[in-house]
C-alpha cells in the first residue's frame, strides 16, 4: 500500500509525519534540529529518500541539511569529511556567495524600504527545489532574492546570476518578510524552463536553464506601488502549476488570485466570489488541473482568517467560482495564518490536501478537501509543508 510522508518546517524545528494510504493514522517524528528555524524541507522526486532542509538562525546563519534515508538521519553535506590537521575546511554547503562575475556584477543594489538603494546581503534559504531527475541537483531560492543551484548534493552552491543581473534589480524591494525568492517551479517536460517568484519583485521565467530571465507580470495590478501595472515590483506570494500543464500557472498575489494560460506572459484575475482575495498559499489538485485551492486571509494588517473561520476555498473551474471547505476546520475564534509554502498535495488516487498554520496545526484532507482533520495540533508556528507520496 502507498504511504505518505509530510515534511513540516516550523519556527523551532522540523517534523516528519507519516501514514499509510488511508491517511487516518499518523506517526509524528521530531523535532529535528530543535530550536532552529526550518524554513523548508523537500524530497527529491528522483530519490524520495533524499531530502534537503534549510536550517537557519539569527545567531548562526544558514545551514543546509541532507538526509539519504527519508529523514531518519541527517548530515550537513560534506561536514563529515575527516579534516587534515591545520588545513582550512572545505565545507561549503552553507556558503551562498553572490556571483561577482561580469554577468552578475552589474547589479549590486536593490531598493530598500525607504526608497534608497541597498546592497544585496545573503540572509537565508527560503525554498529548496530538488531536480526531477538528479538527486544531487537542487535549487535554492534565497533572501536577498537570488537563485542558487547545487549539482553535488548541496555540498557547494553557485548562483544563477542571470536573474539578479537581469536589469530590473534596482526596482526590487523587500516585502514585510524580506526580499525573498520563495517559489521555484521546475518544468518536468522542459528542463530548461524554470519559474520563480520574489516578494516584492514579481514572477520571472527562464527558457534557457537560467542564463536569461524574463519578468512575467503583465496583467498584475498592485495598488501599493506607484505604477500599479509596473513590469516589476509586485508582491507575489506564491505560484502553483500542475505538472501536466506547464503553461498554466496560478498565483496568489498580495491581493488577487491570478491565472495565466501562456506561461506567465499574461495574467487575469480569478478571485471571483472569494471573501477576500488576500492570502499566501495556492495549490493545484494532483489529478484535476482545473481544481485549485487557496486559504483567504484578512488583510492588510490582521493576517488571520475572515470572521475567525478557517476556510479552504476550492475552485473546480480554474478560478472565479469558489466553494468554502469547512468540514473539520475551526469555524469560530480561529486567528492563525497559513504561510506561503505551507500547503501541499499528495498524488494518491483520492488526492490529499495538507496545510499548516502559524498556530502549529497541520491539517490533512484525504478526500480532496471535502473534510479535514488535524494530524498534529500544537507544533511551533508552521513555515512550510511538503508531501511525498511513496510506493
Amino acid at each position: 500500500m502507498s504511504k505518505v510522508r509530510v515534511l513540516v518546517g516550523t519556527r523551532k524545528g522540523a517534523f516528519i509525519l507519516t501514514a499509510d494510504g488511508k491517511r487516518d493514522k499518523w506517526e509524528v517524528s521530531g523535532p529535528h534540529f530543535a530550536g532552529w528555524e526550518m524554513y523548508h524541507l523537500k524530497g527529491s522526486p528522483a530519490d524520495p529518500n533524499r531530502i534537503y532542509a534549510s536550517q537557519t538562525s539569527g545567531w548562526f546563519g544558514q545551514v543546509i541539511q541532507r538526509s539519504s534515508d527519508g529523514g531518519k538521519t541527517w548530515e550537513a553535506p560534506g561536514g563529515d569529511i575527516t579534516p587534515v590537521p591545520g588545513a582550512m575546511p572545505k565545507v561549503e554547503s552553507n556558503k551562498f556567495v553572490y556571483d561577482t562575475s561580469p554577468e552578475g556584477k552589474p547589479l549590486t543594489t536593490h531598493q530598500w524600504y525607504d526608497g534608497t538603494q541597498h546592497p544585496w546581503e545573503f540572509k537565508r534559504v527560503w525554498h529548496l527545489e530538488p531536480s526531477h531527475t538528479d538527486p544531487d541537483t537542487v535549487y535554492a531560492g534565497v533572501e536577498d532574492a537570488a537563485l542558487f543551484r547545487s549539482t553535488d548534493g548541496a555540498k557547494s552552491w553557485q548562483e544563477l546570476p542571470g536573474l539578479r543581473g537581469h536589469g530590473t534589480g534596482p526596482k526590487w524591494q523587500p516585502g514585510a518578510g524580506g526580499m525573498c525568492l520563495h517559489t521555484v517551479i521546475l518544468d518536468k517536460k522542459d528542463p530548461k524552463r524554470i519559474y520563480i517568484a520574489i516578494s516584492a519583485a514579481g514572477a520571472f521565467r527562464t527558457d534557457n536553464g537560467g542564463k536569461t530571465w524574463k519578468p512575467i507580470n503583465r496583467g498584475l495590478h498592485s495598488q501599493y506601488i506607484p505604477d500599479q501595472t509596473a513590469e516589476v515590483g509586485h508582491c507575489v506570494h506564491h505560484v502553483a502549476m500542475h505538472p501536466s500543464r506547464p503553461n498554466v500557472l496560478f498565483m496568489q498575489k498580495h491581493w488577487d488570485v491570478m491565472r495565466s494560460d501562456d506561461a506567465g506572459d499574461n495574467w487575469s484575475e480569478v478571485s471571483g466570489n472569494l471573501p477576500t482575495d488576500f492570502g499566501f498559499v495556492i495549490d493545484v489538485h494532483a489529478h484535476e488541473p482545473e481544481t485549485i485551492y487557496v486559504v483567504p486571509i484578512k488583510s492588510d494588517s490582521e493576517h488571520y482568517p475572515p470572521e475567525g473561520k478557517l476556510r479552504v476555498y476550492r475552485s473546480r473551474t480554474g478560478g472565479n467560482e469558489w466553494e468554502a471547505l469547512t468540514k473539520g476546520l475551526p469555524q469560530s475564534n480561529c486567528y492563525v495564518n497559513v504561510l506561503r509554502d505551507a500547503m501541499a498535495v499528495d498524488s494518491l488516487d483520492k488526492c490529499g490536501i495538507y496545510f499548516g498554520t502559524t498556530g502549529g496545526q497541520v491539517y490533512a484532507s484525504p478526500d480532496a478537501g471535502d473534510s479535514w482533520t488535524p494530524i498534529v495540533r500544537d507544533l511551533p508556528a508552521v513555515l512550510s509543508v511538503e508531501v511525498q507520496t511513496l510506493p
Partner: protein
C-alpha cells in the same frame, strides 16, 4: 590542547559536548582557534564568522579569562591561560529575543 566552549545550538550541530579540545599552532589567537575549530568540525564553517568576510556574526561574542575579546583584533595573542589550556575560550550566543 586549547579548550573551546560552544553555544548549545552549535554543540548540537557539531555533535559534541559542552567543551571541545583542539590542537592549535602558536601563536594562539582568535583566528587560529577558529581556523582549527572549523577544520576539526567543518559543519561549523560559516556559523561563527562569515564565510567570505571572516567577520564575527553579530549575535556572537568571544570571551577569554572573563574578558570580552569580541572587538579585539583577530590576530592578537590570547592570554597564556587560554594558550596553555588552563582556561577555555568561550563562544557565546547573545541572549536576545525576549
Amino acid at each position: 590542547m586549547i579548550r573551546v566552549v560552544l553555544p548549545q545550538h552549535l554543540r548540537t550541530l557539531a555533535k559534541v559536548g559542552y567543551e571541545v579540545e583542539l590542537s592549535v599552532t602558536s601563536p594562539v589567537t582568535q583566528r587560529s582557534i577558529l581556523d582549527a575549530l572549523e577544520a576539526y568540525y567543518p559543519m561549523l564553517a560559516g556559523t561563527i564568522r562569515d564565510h567570505v568576510t571572516q567577520q564575527r556574526r553579530p549575535f556572537l561574542r568571544f570571551f577569554a579569562c572573563e574578558e570580552d575579546w569580541s572587538l579585539e583584533p583577530p590576530d592578537a595573542p590570547l592570554p597564556e591561560a587560554v594558550a596553555s589550556g588552563k582556561e577555555p575560550f568561550y563562544i557565546i550566543g547573545a541572549i536576545a529575543g525576549g
